[in-house]
């Protein structure tokens, strides 16, 4: 073991943060739950999990996390947002609450619950750019990408709609890679953003 193990924060205000911690442990980084601003100190990256984006948005405000987190993201903190996390990172949120704020670090417009209600939630196989076998993806009341900016790279699509994309140090997914045992996307995140060399 050479050097210090990188630490990836997992936003733990609400949602599937524990599942992300398990996936990150599989790819060899330490994790830290983030609920208050002091827990942002010294992080090498951050995961924003699935959950209810309206709930998280409110708790980002009451916990005082929003502003310091926004500053860290603008300074290039690598971030991986899944489902609600994707919504929190998007430049434009459609069908959100009027007071819902997002960090706008990836130039996409997403529609909350764009794939429908729970009875429409589904599993499917995705072809991910650079991966030699399909990725099994679970979509839960998932957000749907409606448009993307020119700097956004699409890594996977479902029925012609982007579901995995990145821009700069931000990676976002409409689905839940933390709900399956396959940690390839977490590995992709920590390697492509340089958290792990």
């Amino acid at each position: 073991m050479g050097g210090v193990q990188p630490v990836v924060g997992v936003l733990a205000l609400q949602g599937a943060f524990a599942a992300h911690e398990r996936a990150l442990a599989q790819v060899g980084v330490a994790t830290r739950q983030v609920r208050v601003p002091a827990q942002l100190d010294g992080l090498d990256g951050l995961v924003m999990p699935g959950g209810e984006s309206t709930t998280m948005s409110r708790l980002l405000h009451t916990s005082g996390l929003f502003d310091p987190l926004q500053a860290a993201l603008r300074d290039g903190l690598p971030v991986f947002g899944t489902c609600a996390g994707m919504i929190l990172l998007a430049t434009t949120v459609l069908d959100g609450r009027p007071d819902q704020r997002s960090f706008a670090v990836i130039d996409i417009a997403v529609r909350r619950n764009g794939y429908g209600r729970q009875i429409d939630s589904f599993e499917t196989e995705l072809d991910v750019a650079g991966e030699d076998r399909p990725f099994h993806a679970v979509f839960i009341r998932a957000p749907k990408v409606e448009s993307i900016g020119p700097a956004v790279e699409v890594l996977a699509e479902h029925e012609g709609v982007p579901v995995l994309a990145r821009e700069g140090a931000a990676l976002v997914a409409s689905f839940h890679p933390e709900l399956t045992d396959d940690a390839r996307l977490h590995r992709l995140f920590v390697h492509q953003t340089g958290i792990l060399k």
């Binding site: 309206t54 708790l59 609600a84 729970q118 009875i119 589904f122 679970v138 479902h158 012609g160």
Partner: protein, 299 residues
């Protein structure tokens, strides 16, 4: 279309049903009886609402048979909010469940708070696309519900009392037995399955993982931010609050405080801050003052 046409969608699978329960972790699901209450719940940071005609405290007071809510009322609440909407059916009443599925609710609670429709059988929950949550007072009951297809368990507590004592008892029953099972050897697991009246493979899974195969939330009697944090520290992964919010003096403030307490459940400074000046909680009742224990319903 590209070559992805082979990638079909599978709906209503175990992972998809359980997935929504995962997304609700660390949050508060609030009972609401009107679209206005549903909006207050969403504004306050609820992760989901439970749409019902009367909160448990009123069901308790009014007596009579408690049934699934009027579809019109459920639709009104669905239209009012963007967060998931749950609704309750009577234990064993699979037709009420068929109706709720047709209405597109996001989760069904096969609930002891309503008057049971079947005193022997629970619903075969595998037969539905919509996921189910069921109550449990102990580990055996939880595992029987999971074996019938429940994708979320909530400790029952005693709904409509504003008294957390039964919720604590049920949480401790469930987590205590799970801890013991992780210490058991393989031969003892057969005895555990027999004693719990639960399927052996589920008992073996607990021995391996130390936890239920589905998320476990807490319900029944939570009235304060401290109650919610207590449930979380005892191992609940999220909380249901029924009468506790809209039977209190200042529902919106209390709702916001309970949401914050559930997130910051180990941070006593934040708990102290959010517990201040919330007005009167629901009055609550003691267990020896009630004549019907809802938690005893379910088999």
């Amino acid at each position: 279309m590209s070559e992805q046409s082979s990638a079909k969608r599978a709906t209503g699978t175990y992972e998809v049903k359980r997935g929504l329960a995962e997304m609700l972790k660390g949050g508060v699901i609030m009972d609401v009886v009107t679209p206005d209450q549903a909006k207050i719940a969403e504004d306050s940071g609820a992760t989901a609402v439970m749409a019902l005609e009367r909160v448990p405290a009123d069901i308790r007071k009014d007596g009579g048979v408690a049934r699934m809510s009027d579809p019109e009322m459920i639709e009104g609440i669905k239209a009012a909010v963007t967060i998931p909407v749950m609704a309750k059916v009577r234990i064993g009443h699979f037709v009420e469940a068929q109706i709720l599925q047709a209405l597109g609710v996001d989760y069904i609670d096969e609930s002891e708070v309503l008057t049971p429709a079947d005193e022997t059988h629970h619903i075969d929950k595998f037969a539905f696309t919509v996921p189910f949550v069921c109550g449990a007072t102990n580990l055996g009951e939880a595992l029987r519900r999971i074996s019938e297809g429940a994708c979320m368990i909530r400790s029952k507590g005693e709904a409509g009392t504003g008294n957390v004592v039964e919720a604590v008892r049920h949480l401790r029953n469930i987590t205590g037995d799970m801890r013991k099972i992780t210490q058991a050897d393989s031969a003892e697991l057969f005895q555990w399955a027999k004693q719990l009246q639960a399927p052996l493979p589920l008992v073996q899974e607990i021995a391996e993982t130390g936890w239920l195969p589905v998320p476990m939330f807490c319900a029944g009697g939570i009235a304060t931010p401290a109650d919610a944090a207590l449930a979380m520290q005892l191992g609940a992964e999220a909380v249901f609050v029924g009468s506790g919010i809209f039977k209190s003096d200042e529902p919106a403030r209390r709702a916001r405080a309970i949401v914050e307490a559930t997130t910051h459940f180990r941070d006593a400074d934040i708990l102290a801050k959010v517990s201040r000046g919330l007005g009167a909680p629901m009055t609550g009742i003691n267990m020896d003052e009630i004549n019907q224990r809802y938690a005893e319903r379910g088999w």
